[in-house]
């Protein structure tokens, strides 16, 4: 506010005071009670003071309330009454807050309120409804808040001494036993080696042991149980399947998915590398602090590696709408999603509520929230394809590009020659070749109008919904004269150009050719999807036949073609056309798998097989050279540059209603001695030719500081949870006041200390837990203990658990012998039932079943995670939803699970294969049944059990008239449905 206005405001305030003390007071009172009050009472009171709920924390029924205001700040502005929030709201000018929401006030009512506000908003005290005196929106962190168990420093206390020293394998047992003694509970006895071997396999690698593995463990355990057990633990921890099992738990937390969601639900290319990073980190026992730093800021650390870059795919996992109703708001929706996942995953703190107002239960203020969000504001907004960065050494790149240019030139010439030759055989009527439809014309043939800019646009510039405000319009053929074979229509002399044009389609084209002349690097997008990319320059127009994958980007109605060309040295030029057909495209289509078979035979006959094969090979070579990148493409985080720009508090969570400016900082309750967030300083860093703010690294360093009371507690609690079925803190991503308190707080602290002291060694912690006697207890019921502690809150026994969705599917595949244990790599698309595919708006699209059948039997972790199309069986068995982080999965029991386990094609196919394996035990059906049960239950079945199944088998044969083979298949199916098969002791 300028000095002048300040003086005016002061003047107005004085006038206000005078008016109150003068005879006008009575007039004010009258005006209020007769004119203003009825309007307020009718339209505002219900939500703002007189009703049950106080919306926006705003009370209009008293002057105090009016002046204090609500989430949008004071409703009355004494300095400048005309600018009062109240008047803006009733004017309906701001789309974000129009009051009253149901309908705009009449002009007369607006006049009354305006006059009232202008005159200083006097009330008639007898009509005021005052609120609770405590009703204040001020935020402060109290000592009591700081004393909350999760925010206190981790205690360094040693394990207690307990009477029964024999039960103490390690510190865990001391804590658990002490509590059991205190509660008058007895620990269960140790489970049998038979039970333990199964438990260990599932907990450490998520798969069952084979009967041979069980037998050899039991044989060794007979002589030396301790030795055999320890050896088995080491063996399992070193298997590649260990990382796969534990990666799944982590991926739940970060709501890992491989598509964007919403209308197009496009895949996130290369994002599987992040999944592989997690698996590898667990397999290689990467220290947990390093694991955190790399995910948050693997691009900002000293000497980033390909691995540490891949880890930052962490920032690219969320759902993303390419066509949001409110673009600005959506940018922050995405950031908010990352704030939530980061605070819950690493800190067990739910910050989400503080996005709209101070947290109502936990001592987290809105300022804390937006200060925390500031760590991420430098991150570039998501794009359809994510942000792909190629990982390669510099000289590797240059020589590669030279080679590629030469190769492609000669291959394209060859293709032209061969297609001309083949066309002679393929097309009787040469007219077919002329019937191309041009969507976008290039400068050789008349050109097209383009919108273009040379200023870097926002990240969404290639999306359909992008509004190219302030772009220029001109004819295509941009560049400078002198570039060979160019047809310059519009000058372009800068470094970059971005261009967009549109065309309409009533039906989708079967084949499309892109003619392109570029100097230099070019990216071509259709409807936000990258359909072609080339680096370096061309010396003439080159025809690119778009692959089928690119054709998927076309849509009926409006299409947007968007091109970005980046210039390096020499003259610049960019021009593009897009049309159906072209001779090359038509010939290619006809000779493809989808082409007419009789025609292909005819061509083979007339032209000879050799030329046809040579043509096909040339096409393949062009495709492979075009898509080849120097180096490995990674979908990772990128930042806008050194300075992300200012960040403000968003009033009521709206990106359009800005409050105070904030800077990067962490919640006050965790790190500062007052109620303000603690600022975390950072400096920009430059690696690999890119500059970032350095903020994420600063945050990561604060999180992994050994003095941070949450990080180690939260992670040790998660390890405990997945070994014992529940965390010491059952709400494992919420250590706040709405969460549950730890059942064994001292044990949790001791574990957290062990973790930090071990150098954040994950495998050491697994070892510590599974070696304890607490872990080795049996799950059997004990009447006395059940009576005192039916929920097993004190860990007097091991809790039975159901296999997870993935463990169940993987185990079924292990039974059938189909399980493919190949580790790492691109996702796979196993077949889905047609009924499930039919629920999509483009049934079957976006789920191209993987050709190699053996890939269908990979572990469930490798099945493509598409947000709008879930794998039905995995979903039925409570696989985590991927839109929000999931710390604890549900475990439901519903009839649809039974239907899937009895009737689905998958289960019956696997049961048939399982039956075949059972037959390997010999011709005697009892042997077959015995071998099946041993495989499924990982123990030798009793004679009664075998007899029961044999009875079922005979009944099927005798009463239902089934063949031996069919009857055995049903036996196999029954075995896969046993409770013992899917529950662990």
């Amino acid at each position: 506010m300028t000095w002048f206005f300040k003086q005016c405001a002061l003047f107005l305030a004085i006038v206000g005071v005078f008016s109150f003390s003068s005879a006008d007071e009575e007039a004010d009172r009258k005006f209020f009670s007769e004119k203003v009050f009825p309007v307020l009472e009718k339209n505002c009171f219900k939500c703002h003071g007189a009703g049950e709920h106080l919306k926006s924390d705003f009370r209009i029924t008293s002057r105090d309330g009016l002046v204090r205001g609500g989430h949008f700040g004071p409703a009355y502005n004494a300095d400048d009454p005309a600018a009062s929030v109240l008047l803006e709201a009733i004017s309906y000018k701001n789309e974000d807050y129009q009051m009253p929401p149901k309908e705009k006030l009449s002009e007369e009512d607006i006049m009354i309120l305006t006059q009232w506000i202008d005159s200083g908003a006097p009330y008639d005290p007898s009509l005021e409804i005052k609120g609770d005196a405590k009703e204040r929106r001020g935020f402060s962190v109290s000592d009591e808040d700081r004393e909350w168990w999760a925010y206190r420093s981790v205690s360094k206390d040693d394990p207690p001494k307990v009477k029964d020293a024999s039960w103490q394998e390690n510190g865990i047992d001391a804590f658990v036993r002490a509590q059991l003694d205190r509660e008058g509970l007895r620990p269960n006895s140790q489970a049998s080696p038979q039970v333990l071997v199964r438990r260990l396999y599932y907990d450490l690698i998520g798969l069952p042991p084979s009967p041979q593995e069980v037998d050899s463990f039991l044989a060794e355990a007979e002589n030396d149980f301790e030795g055999a057990y320890a050896a088995l633990v080491e063996d399992l921890l070193s298997r590649p399947q260990h990382g796969e099992k534990w990666a799944r738990h982590w991926l739940d937390l970060v709501r890992y998915a491989e598509s964007n969601g919403f209308e197009r639900d496009n895949p996130k290319p290369e994002i599987w590398r992040y999944r592989d990073y997690v698996i590898k980190a667990f397999n290689e026992n990467k220290p947990y602090d390093k694991f955190i730093i790399e995910q948050l800021a693997g691009d900002e650390i000293e000497n980033p590696t390909m691995d540490s870059l891949v880890a930052t795919g962490y920032h690219r996992l969320m759902q993303w709408d390419d066509e949001p109703a409110d673009r600005k708001q959506h940018v922050y929706d995405v950031l908010a999603d990352n704030v939530q996942v980061t605070s819950e995953t690493f800190l067990g703190t739910t910050m989400g509520c503080a996005r709209c107002h101070d947290h109502k239960a936990d001592p987290i203020s809105q300022k804390d929230y937006y200060s925390f969000m500031s760590f991420f504001t430098g991150v570039t907004h998501y794009k359809t394809e994510g942000t792909i960065v190629a990982w390669a050494e510099q000289d590797e790149k240059a020589s590669f590009e030279r080679e590629r240019r030469e190769k492609l030139k000669s291959l394209r010439d060859k293709r032209e020659r061969l297609s001309a030759e083949l066309a002679g055989f393929l097309f009787e009527d040469k007219g077919d070749l002329e019937k191309t439809i041009t969507f976008v014309e290039d400068a050789r043939n008349g050109s097209t109008d383009w919108f273009y800019t040379m200023e870097k646009p926002t990240d969404d510039w290639s999306d359909v919904g992008f509004v190219n405000k302030a772009w220029f319009k001109a004819k295509g053929g941009f560049g400078v004269k002198g570039v060979p074979n160019s047809h310059v229509k519009t000058p372009w002399e800068t470094k970059d150009i971005w261009m967009r044009t549109t065309f309409g389609l009533t039906s989708l084209p079967a084949s499309v050719t892109l003619d392109l002349h570029h100097d230099e690097d070019v990216e071509v997008y259709l409807n936000g999807t990258l359909i072609h990319k080339a680096s370096g320059y061309t010396t003439d127009y080159e025809s690119i036949v778009l692959p089928d994958k690119a054709l998927d980007a076309f849509q009926t109605g409006k299409n947007v073609l968007a091109v970005h060309c980046k210039h390096g040295n020499g003259g610049q030029y960019i021009d593009v056309s897009l049309k159906t057909g072209s001779r090359v495209a038509l010939v290619e289509k006809m000779l493809s798998k989808k082409g007419s078979k009789p025609l292909q035979w005819e061509v083979n006959e007339k032209a000879g097989r050799d030329i046809v094969e040579e043509f096909k090979k040339t096409i393949e070579d062009i495709d492979s050279w075009s898509s080849k990148e120097p180096g490995t493409p990674l979908n990772v985080v990128t930042e806008k540059g050194a300075n992300p720009g200012p960040m403000h508090i968003h009033l009521r969570g709206s990106a359009h209603a800005l409050g105070d400016e904030v800077s990067p900082g962490v919640p006050a309750v965790l790190a500062s001695d007052n109620s303000e967030p603690r600022a975390i300083e950072s400096d920009p860093v430059s690696h690999l030719g890119k500059t970032t703010s350095g903020r994420r690294l600063a945050l990561a360093n604060w999180i992994v500081d050994p003095d941070n009371p949450l990080t180690s507690r939260v992670m040790m609690n998660r390890l405990w949870q997945h070994h014992f079925g529940r965390g010491i803190v059952p709400s494992s991503s919420d250590f706040g006041k709405l969460g549950e308190k730890p059942t064994h707080p001292e044990l949790l602290d001791w574990l957290a200390n062990q973790f930090v002291e071990s150098g954040w060694d994950m495998k050491a912690m697994h070892r510590l837990i599974v070696m304890s006697n607490t872990y080795k207890m049996s799950s059997e019921p004990d009447s006395a203990s059940l009576e005192k502690d039916p929920q097993n809150n004190h860990f007097w026994r091991y809790s039975m658990r159901r296999l997870t969705a993935e463990e169940l599917r993987d185990t079924i595949l292990a039974m059938s012998g189909k399980l493919n244990l190949k580790s790492y790599g691109d996702w796979v698309y196993p077949p889905l039932p047609p009924e499930v595919l039919a629920t999509a708006s483009r049934p079957g699209k976006g789920w191209p079943v993987t050709k190699d059948e053996s890939e269908h039997y990979r572990r469930s972790l490798y099945v493509h995670v598409k947000r709008s199309l879930r794998h039905q069986m995995l979903a039925d068995f409570d696989q985590a939803d991927t839109d929000t982080g999931c710390a604890v999965r549900f475990s439901t029991t519903v009839p649809t699970q039974a239907l899937s386990m009895l009737n689905s094609k998958f289960i019956n196919d696997q049961a048939a294969l399982f039956a075949n394996r059972m037959k390997e035990a010999g011709d005697d059906v009892n042997d077959q049944i015995t071998s099946g049960l041993a495989l499924a239950l990982q123990r030798q079945p009793s004679a009664d059990e075998v007899a029961d199944l044999n009875g079922f088998y005979q009944k099927l044969k005798n009463e239902a008239g089934l063949s031996s083979d069919d009857a055995l298949e049903r036996v196999a199916l029954l075995t896969l449905n046993l409770n013992e098969f899917i529950y662990l002791d």
């Binding site: 709408d321 939530q340 629920t839 709008s868 475990s891 009839p895």
Partner: protein, 484 residues
């Protein structure tokens, strides 16, 4: 956040609930908790193992079931139920009007006058266009909401909003909330059923009937009107009932042996029981879609005998049969896939709407009349509408196509405790935006929950540190004007 009245999941118990559900004691925890809260009577032993077991409502509600007729793509309100007499004769005029659709925000446009005539119907004299003459004959049972608004004019997010109250996916859908609050009265059929259009699902597919952060037990089940209604209901290799009975008997026997030394584990017994439920579902579900016992007169009331209407008519009749069998929430999509396969009339408005109204008008009227004569309409709430409406102006330089409009549109409700023959709210004289008595999607949701006997501002589910409600943190009041 100390004490709240009538909190659905009371503070202390709510946490316990979450722990227990996650830890594997879903139903016991739920029923135990709810009876402690005083809302629910103690569930009997047979339902204790099923999270979907029927629960009495929180308060008195008239409706017991909902049939949501989802006009996917966005029907044009000014061509159907929102009569704008002053627009006739204005065709082609360019006027200043604020619009926001897939083509972005605009400040002026060319008027496309309503392409159908309106007539008055019933005692209420409600104007309805010639697209819906048969629905017109039911207006005295219908409450029209002419001032609906939504936050997005883009299909993907708008569908999510209409179905789950949020523009961002991951939130439970309306049907999940109803089943979470009330359970299903028939364990042998799903409590939440979705019937899709022949042309395909809506954009985002299963996200529209997801249970989001709630357990999967509350998600919608896709129900097919012909063949095998539910996924995996038929054995893939044709195992018959007798054989399956043998299998389940033997399985039960062996599972009983396993249970004997683990007697305290209710999950194991719940799983045994779930096979019986599944077995029964295999006969109850096909029976539900078997129309053999329906009279010819009934079938023709739904117009199953006419080519154009037979698919939607069949689904409407199935909806009635499912209501009779206790399914709480049924959603039927008119329109699927993309463009003109649904109500998304960007090109030729007349062709599009004639087609979609033509295939739904008679079946919808048939459904209302059939429910009424059977005395079921009082307890069955019918909701009609799309994710948004359409603009009064043309989308392109030529043609009649209209772009999306979330500033104002019409939905209607009938039965289930709703007043008949009333209309609330208004759009401006062009139908461009709601101006009087504006309602948001969350008010519609609040009204549906209220009519079902659930308190919209107290029905909550604790997740991610927050008591989530379908109507949002701030809550929303039901539209009292339409509640009888």
């Amino acid at each position: 956040m100390k004490k709240r009245k009538k909190d659905f999941c009371g503070n202390v118990n709510r946490r316990e609930f979450l722990h227990n559900v996650a830890g594997g004691f879903p139903a016991l925890a739920l029923t135990g908790m709810l009876s402690q809260d005083g809302f629910f009577n103690k569930a009997n032993a047979s339902t204790a193992m099923n999270p979907l077991a029927s629960k009495p409502p929180m308060q008195l509600g008239k409706a017991k079931n909902v049939i949501f007729l989802f006009m996917y793509g966005g029907p044009s309100h000014i061509d159907t139920f929102d009569y704008k007499p002053s627009m006739y004769g204005m065709d082609g005029k360019t006027i200043a009007v604020k619009t926001f659709g897939r083509g972005g925000k605009k400040n002026e446009g060319r008027i496309v006058e309503p392409k159908w005539k309106f007539k008055q119907y019933g005692e209420s004299g409600k104007y309805v266009s010639d697209l819906f003459p048969h629905v017109g004959s039911c207006v005295d049972d219908i409450a029209f909401l002419h001032s609906m608004t939504a936050d997005s004019p883009i299909h993907g997010s708008a569908l999510l909003m209409m179905n789950s109250g949020s523009l961002i996916s991951g939130h439970p859908s309306l049907g999940s909330w109803v089943n979470y609050g009330l359970g299903s009265v028939n364990e042998n059929l799903p409590g939440y059923v979705v019937m899709l259009d022949q042309s395909g699902g809506p954009i985002s597919g299963a996200k529209n009937w997801t249970s989001g952060f709630m357990p999967a037990s509350y998600q919608g089940t896709v129900f097919r009107s012909q063949g095998s209604p539910i996924l995996n209901l038929d054995h893939v290799n044709g195992m018959d009932n007798r054989e399956q009975r043998m299998l389940i008997d033997s399985l039960n026997h062996m599972n009983a042996g396993h249970l004997s030394s683990r007697f305290d584990n209710t999950n194991l017994s719940a799983r045994i029981a779930s096979y019986e439920l599944a077995y029964r579902m295999q006969s109850t579900a096909p029976e539900a879609i078997d129309l053999e016992n329906e009279s010819e007169e009934t079938k023709s009331l739904y117009c199953i005998d006419q080519k154009e209407t037979q698919d939607f008519g069949r689904k409407c009749l199935l909806a009635r049969r499912l209501v009779e069998r206790g399914t709480r929430f049924i959603q039927i999509y008119s329109g699927g896939a993309h463009n003109d396969d649904n109500w998304d009339a960007h090109g030729d408005l007349e062709k599009n709407h004639n087609h979609h109204a033509g295939s739904t008008d008679k079946p919808i009227a048939g459904l209302i009349k059939d429910l009424k004569r059977r005395g079921m309409l009082d307890e069955t709430l019918i909701v009609w509408g799309g994710e948004f409406g359409r603009q009064p102006t043309a989308e392109y330089e030529s043609g009649t196509g209209r772009d999306h409009n979330s500033y104002g549109f019409t939905m209607w409700m009938a039965g289930g405790g709703v007043k008949g023959g009333v209309s609330v709210g208004q759009t401006d004289e062009l139908g461009a935006a709601a101006v009087e008595n504006r309602f948001h999607v969350k008010h519609l949701h609040a009204t549906i929950l209220e009519l079902m006997g659930l308190d919209p501002n107290n029905l909550s589910f604790f997740f991610g540190g927050l008591d989530h409600k379908l109507v949002g943190v701030e809550g929303a009041d039901p539209i009292r004007e339409v509640i009888a």
